[in-house]
Symmetry: C2
Subunit: 149 residues, 2 copies
């Protein structure tokens, strides 16, 4: 059984384990958000806007680690659902400042709760100190972010 489920020494690779944990987190979030009919990318978008009203499509994409093309479609769907609003004309330049609607904020409140619970559970085997260290180690791999601390 264990032999059949092992994939050689891949488990010794940080990248492989990272992918595995990420997939687990993603799955947990998917399941938590499903009752709200929200996908993870949609939730991420709402969360970012909840914290930073007025972000543009491109800014949202950068903070969600996807391309602006991908984010454009996510925004469109959310806008159709009335969870966020964008002006038809850019107030300056080309950027369209995006804001949550009242309904969007309400949905975000619920989503945040379940997502935090899912995240908390996934990392629960680690002590608060271990979690902090894990976060720091991960952040250290990101030069741009590391410079901000």
């Amino acid at each position: 059984m264990e032999q059949a489920e092992r994939v050689g020494d891949l488990e010794l690779s940080v990248g492989y384990v990272l992918k595995q944990v990420h997939a687990a987190l993603r799955t947990a979030m998917d399941e938590a958000l499903r009752p709200l009919e929200l996908t993870v990318p949609q939730y991420a978008c709402l969360e970012l806007l909840g914290r930073n009203p007025g972000l543009s499509n491109s800014e949202l994409a950068r903070h969600a680690f996807v391309t602006r093309q991908s984010m454009n479609l996510v925004l469109r769907r959310l806008q159709e659902r009335g969870l966020l609003a964008r002006p038809e004309q850019a107030p300056q330049g080309r950027a369209l400042p995006t804001d949550l609607t009242r309904e969007g904020r309400a949905v975000l409140r619920e989503a945040s709760v379940v997502v935090r619970a899912a995240e908390k559970q996934l990392f629960s085997p680690l002590s608060p100190e271990q979690q902090r260290r894990l976060r720091e180690d991960l952040a250290a791999c990101l030069p741009a972010v590391a410079d901000q601390y």
Copy 2:
């Protein structure tokens, strides 16, 4: 600048940073594999088969952390490219044991080199000890895997 690029206290969330590092790793792998006209999922598949010949579609999916439906399409594409082969009939039950072709093994050899380099670079800010610890902390969040160590 720093203010405009911050997204509140999201950077304090392990989940957020995990997603960020994962995205960075994914991007680095994408770029490394592009000259070989391989996508990350395709590479993952080749790597798994290189280490464990004869895995079925479902087994590959499990080890790649995707659904068997997703893996089916990846396998189909790779098979069309002649990089792997599957019997038309299942020798027993329904599982189709999959194997790399000679060309598949050749492509995998090249791919492995560039992927390892990309991975090594991403985690290079961490010492070997830190990398080991990072891997262990991440693995600890996966109950099933943790039990195997």
